[in-house]
Symmetry: none
Subunit: 203 residues, 4 copies
Amino acid sequence: MVRKRATPEFRKSQIIAAADLVLLEMGIEHFTIDRVIDRAKIAKGTVYNYYKNKDEMLADLGYKALSMLLSHFHTAVGGQKSSVEKVKAICKSSYDYYRVYPQYFELISYMERPDFEINMSNYLKLSQEITNMVNHVVAEGQEKGEIKKDLSSDMITYIIWACSVGVVQFVESKEKLLKNHHEISTQQMIKGFSEMITKGISL
Amino acid sequence: MVRKRATPEFRKSQIIAAADLVLLEMGIEHFTIDRVIDRAKIAKGTVYNYYKNKDEMLADLGYKALSMLLSHFHTAVGGQKSSVEKVKAICKSSYDYYRVYPQYFELISYMERPDFEINMSNYLKLSQEITNMVNHVVAEGQEKGEIKKDLSSDMITYIIWACSVGVVQFVESKEKLLKNHHEISTQQMIKGFSEMITKGISL
Amino acid sequence: MVRKRATPEFRKSQIIAAADLVLLEMGIEHFTIDRVIDRAKIAKGTVYNYYKNKDEMLADLGYKALSMLLSHFHTAVGGQKSSVEKVKAICKSSYDYYRVYPQYFELISYMERPDFEINMSNYLKLSQEITNMVNHVVAEGQEKGEIKKDLSSDMITYIIWACSVGVVQFVESKEKLLKNHHEISTQQMIKGFSEMITKGISL
Amino acid sequence: MVRKRATPEFRKSQIIAAADLVLLEMGIEHFTIDRVIDRAKIAKGTVYNYYKNKDEMLADLGYKALSMLLSHFHTAVGGQKSSVEKVKAICKSSYDYYRVYPQYFELISYMERPDFEINMSNYLKLSQEITNMVNHVVAEGQEKGEIKKDLSSDMITYIIWACSVGVVQFVESKEKLLKNHHEISTQQMIKGFSEMITKGISL
DNA sequence: TATGAATGAGTGTTCATTCAT
DNA sequence: AATGAATGAACACTCATTCAT
């Protein structure tokens, strides 16, 4: 009814903020455009002036999700001295991240779908940045003789990331299944996992 | 129109085969009854003579998926002597399994969702059997002094499984994303992963 | 599997007995052929050897329902001396009947559907018999000077029946709505209704 | 294909009009959304922009049904002087109402079913209003000594309503069954019924 | 006669996307 | 740019009825 005028940037941030809330409250499974426009108090058609389709909007959210992940990794690495400790911190912070933004974790998994065929160059660039960051830590460790060199730093980086995701998903599904939060054993598992990884990459 | 008669066993296997294909081609997200009946060339109602609902059909597929996995694990462990080698073989065979039955991996994840509320006692029993099998290998290794004891065999089993799933999913999504099969580096990654895990759990 | 042989009469009574139970337990709304064959332990196709379709089966049940109603009316009238008292007893026994066979009441209403287009000659004949029975009571009352004559005995009979059905349905829906059985006021209502009718038809 | 634009008010009235026709022609048992959209020549999804679900649509029809009924009662009562005459007019106007809006009668019955779980506060309020209106007429008659006092005005109101519904349904089913309109005897029946009721409640 | 596997036209509901205004 | 009414393809599931054996 009321015709709101706003700069494109503002409007887009308004939409993404609403989308963020919807994702937070409903999860990716029940994320719908209708719920987003309800939140954002804008018309349905307006969304499509800013996003080609739903997936493009999710990619935008995904970008935010990766940003937060990168920031988590930076914080985690910051306090550590040795490269191995840094890797361990990264493993642990993957889980911390999931605890704080479980929906973002879901979203990142969701975006791996093979039929997610939109322009995600920004997303991929950021994804690369995260990889580079971890890669840098690993390569440094290899140079300093802390981390074994029979695998390329790339490979080690991928393995660390893949295992971290796997462990978090495992914990997630088990917690959902059991419907109670047995935080203790989860913490033990994360700790055991981190140590296993660091031991596995050490010289 | 044309009424095709068949033994219940044949018809059920026909449906499962069609469902397998649909899962393989479309992924769990786009797995629908309509697509299954299209493939199986049967009427809609027929499906419901064999399965109470969609989830029960998926549970049947899931059971098959776990059976194949267990069988893969058994084969893999069979040829190994030391416990650590057995664990390594399990890690590698997770990927082999994925190569043969890629569709089953996401199905297993899907069935973990908390609202999957059908009778899955058979499925869960088999799931437990797999866990027990791996657990047995790990516990044996601990007794023989091959595997470290600061983590319970349960915990190690879970971590191995979670990491294996993570690595396979990673490989899967990267391959689908890049749409070319760089089998070599994948093989390297699986090898590196297996060695990292075995090193991580060794004394 | 096992081929049961039986006389057609026995088989039909077996089906109708099962159907009766299904109607009793599920109500007309959830009355299905599947549930009947489950109960009767016979094959689906067999039903259609004895009944052209579902409605014909219901008509058979409906016949039974009317039989019980007629029997209720006979019992009710039996104890009364004056015609007016007989009419009052009929009004009351309509409700008694509903209390004992609520599903039969539903069924009778259901069979009034305009698209209930099957051969119901038996049903209609019995329906006529009930009408005749009431009509006889009314006509007798008119002859004896107990019941007013400005309306034909037919008309009075119809009105009595129609009002009785209406009152029972009203009580039924109110009880279902309120979900508690306030038997007292219901009894009062039935009593009030019966008296109102008898007063209405008296000279 | 062709996108027809209309004001919401028009579209809603268009849907209701179509629904009215479907109810009239098919009866509540065969009232489906598909038939409504067929009639209204709109897309399926459009219905759900105006009604949350089927029951809400029926509730809207039901509200309209009660409105017309109340209006009929008001008109009927308007011309009468004595309370007893007013009651008689109400009985007769029930039938008039049915003649004008035959489809609404079964709808009102249908909405009494206990699993009708939508917000019907408006409907129930209106229903109460009708009851109050009749109740007022009866209570007035009791005060003036025209109507007997051995039953509460509430009870009498309910009985009048229940009997009226019963008689209308009886006439309806008989007419449909015989498929010819013997308007004369129907009129006689309504007249007889009204007089029977008024006689029944008089002092 | 008996069987029960097979059929397929519904049934209500969802939701991403389009497009006339 | 903004609106929001309109669209229609999906979707899981039901059940009376048919018919080859």
